[in-house]
Symmetry: C2
């Protein structure tokens, strides 16, 4: 979808929105807000996708309130847009048909920690950092780390993952059960707390990644893990992206249980050096991390070092000291900001695709050539253990031809990934931005998704204008 | 559901079944079979649930044929029951409304092995043993092992798991994508081959565990793993079930990446000794297996040994020799047959429940007391790392009061598991037998499942009479 496409959409008329707002005000008083600043802050703000503000924002404080809000909106065929912290990247929190943004950030309680079962129950507004702070004294942690301090409800809704999915999986793998309020106001619990179940359809996984289009998540039961006895992190420079990717393939295939394995291309390394005041080699590099017992971590690092050397790598510079590790991963996590410094004054659009790892070097190579031919600046970083990578395009929003070139590039990138049997999005979700690619990737399966959507939300009030082209 | 309930059901009339058979015969000739022996062999045969034969069995040889068959059945509102090898335990392959059993065992080709990507593509009739035989020279394997040499399509349909799910997950975690023919004859592919995706609803996970009620699986893309450099298996006797379970909790929490950890109660150990001519201590025991490098395996076994000893265990008798390991796991896998020898001439019904592991010792303890109070024989074995266990009831089918006692026991067992925040089935599925427990476990979520079912199969032709009470 180009900017123009999104702005030109003519969505369904929603005449009863004012009536919904009036009813909500009767119940919630000052907790429903219609001021422009608050409304705009609850629409999309993180990329160059336009800001489409809702008609009102309501701050929910508990599950029963969410149920009440959805009930009122349903009675008035008024769109509902769930909002966590607004860190999503594909326009998920925009309100192209107007409606009510439900801000869930006040639902931020950790409801239970079951240490023996390695699980916890949280409200959707708990952020991943807040959860890990809460867990600090238990010896447990929640690993999924998309970079931003996202809300766990939002992470489930977009099927988020990030740097350590290669070891711990994505939100798909780490949500045991959900509570959700469906479009008709019905509250459901998708599963009980057993680690596995064969009892009926997997509604947990149906809601994870549904981007708020089927229901509003009101609590999450999540898997936890013991904090590893030892953690070793390091950086390793390679002659080329292909050499780095070959090392990744061999690492995974050898069964080294690497916890993180991240690629930064040469341009990203330059940006990281400048932004984080580091002195790393400006070559394609892998940032790696190993978790386990001291003996296991040492063995993993040694085996990785051998594979890397066989692929022409420089020495692995590694440390198990917490401050060194933090410095390294902060540099990685700050890549969005570091990249923007490559072109001061630009706006960034961070996109993601994911391919089978055997095609990753080809996909990145062709993408780099495409960037060069298009005259675009776009450093590349990737969760390469999963075949997932990001291009962060840095754009001058006043140059119409540059926006046009960028949009053509994004379409080619999505099509390239799909042609390699991959996906137009590995972890950001479809939102508004990638709706145009979904049919090319999944064909008739999209119609099955739409049949499910229509069955569960016949009036199209749950986050309309996302995932599917209207 | 009692036997009587299942037999007393009055399902929808299906007057056009003869027309469907006639149409199918025109296209498939002798590959549609209506002889009683073949029909009965394609209905339920593995427990005491009644055999409800289909009207005909058709042997499909490729995806296009499945599409043709479903199209003809859809046009005649004729039930379709997918059939792999018939090893399911809850009546999934029965035909309570008559109709056509699609035997997929001739669709047994491994279509691709992508060693670099650690995945493969198979037809649904490939069994797990056949796949692993095919992979023998690649250094890779497919780990999920429900005991029986089940078909991979059937394993996906019931969301199967088994002994090493504690390390490798269940079918939920190991299916990357599916091809499926839906109720209207439409062929879909649920995802591409990338390791992760955020592109739309997770139709892969919606079909995994749907027990043939939404579509017929026609191919599966599965995750593979490198065969571990070393495998060490062993047995360890404990003073009590609770001591064994506490050791399991501590093992998982310490982060020991145990590959299998199976509980056998004292009665099961006696049965195993008698059947497999072993000389193991007749105490509650854990069968364990460790995978990894030699150093890692040694470390895992040592750490496990320390935890076990702290819980009063006898010595861990372990071996990394292939024949010793095979003998041990064969004894475990043969428990169904070994248990039946505890009462020659009996019929067995193997049930499963799954609870949070913190409640496992309570759940097993109360279940053992219940068995004793009910005068029933039911050895217990379990995939205890997941909180999942089986009771194999050994019944005299001529004793009506015993059947009645067994059915009351099964209901109490399911309710006990649910009351402990667990599930009435961890891996066998709902089928016919557990439909009565689903609403008690999941409440309004069952109505959401039914809305999905109705949207995707409005005439109820896909494996009717399973999962949901009609």
């Amino acid at each position: 979808m180009t900017l123009r496409d999104i702005l030109a959409e003519r969505p369904a008329a929603r005449p009863k929105i004012p009536a919904a707002i009036e009813s909500l005000r009767t119940v919630f008083g000052e907790r429903i807000v219609t001021g422009e600043d608050v409304r705009r802050a609850h629409a999309h703000t993180t990329t160059y996708i336009p800001n489409q503000a809702p008609d009102a924002v309501i701050f929910a404080e508990c599950e029963a309130e969410v149920q009440r809000i959805v009930g009122i909106c349903a009675a008035n065929e008024t769109p509902i847009i769930p909002f966590g912290v607004g860190s999503s990247l594909e326009g998920h929190v925009n309100a192209p048909q107007g409606g009510i943004s439900i801000d869930l950030s006040r639902m931020d309680r950790v409801l239970a920690v079951h240490a023996e079962d390695l699980d916890c129950v949280v409200e959707p507004g708990v952020t991943r950092e807040a959860l890990n702070a809460h867990l600090r004294d238990t010896g447990l942690f929640f690993p999924i780390d998309p970079g931003a301090n996202a809300s766990l409800g939002g992470m489930a809704a977009t099927r988020a993952s990030g740097t350590n999915a290669v070891r711990y999986g994505t939100m798909r793998d780490n949500v045991i059960a959900l509570n959700a309020v469906m479009a008709d106001g019905r509250l459901i619990r998708t599963a009980r707390r057993a680690k596995k179940t064969s009892a009926g359809y997997d509604l947990t996984r149906l809601l994870v990644g549904s981007e708020g289009t089927l229901g509003v998540i009101t609590s999450l039961t999540l898997k936890l893990y013991g904090i590893p006895e030892q953690i070793l992190s390091g950086v390793c420079p390679f002659p080329s992206v292909r050499d780095a990717v070959n090392t990744v393939i061999q690492t995974v295939q050898t069964g080294i249980p690497v916890a993180r394995i991240e690629l930064l291309d040469a341009q990203s390394m330059q940006a990281a050096n400048a932004y984080a005041k580091l002195d790393l080699k400006p070559q394609p590099s892998l940032f790696v991390e190993f978790h386990g017992s001291p003996a296991s971590v040492a063995e993993q690092a040694e085996m990785f070092g051998i594979l890397a050397a066989e692929n022409g790598a420089g020495a692995l510079e590694a440390s198990n000291r917490a401050e060194e590790r933090s410095r390294l991963w902060k540099a990685r996590h700050d890549m969005y900001w570091a990249s923007m410094q490559l072109r001061p004054g630009s706006r960034a659009i961070a996109t993601d695709v994911c391919v089978p790892v055997s095609r990753l070097a080809d996909c990145i190579g062709e993408t780099q050539e495409d960037l060069q031919a298009s005259g675009l600046i776009g450093p590349i970083i990737g969760h390469v253990g999963d075949g997932n990578f990001h291009v962060t395009l840095l754009l001058d929003m006043d140059a119409a031809n540059e926006i046009e070139a960028a949009e053509a590039f994004l379409t080619r990138l999505a099509e390239r990934a799909v042609a390699m049997d991959g996906t137009c999005t590995g972890e950001h979700g479809v939102g508004q931005g990638k709706r145009g690619y979904l049919h090319g990737e999944l064909g008739a399966a999209v119609e099955v998704m739409q049949a499910v959507k229509t069955a569960l939300d016949p009036h199209g009030i749950m986050n309309p204008g996302k995932i599917f082209l209207t």
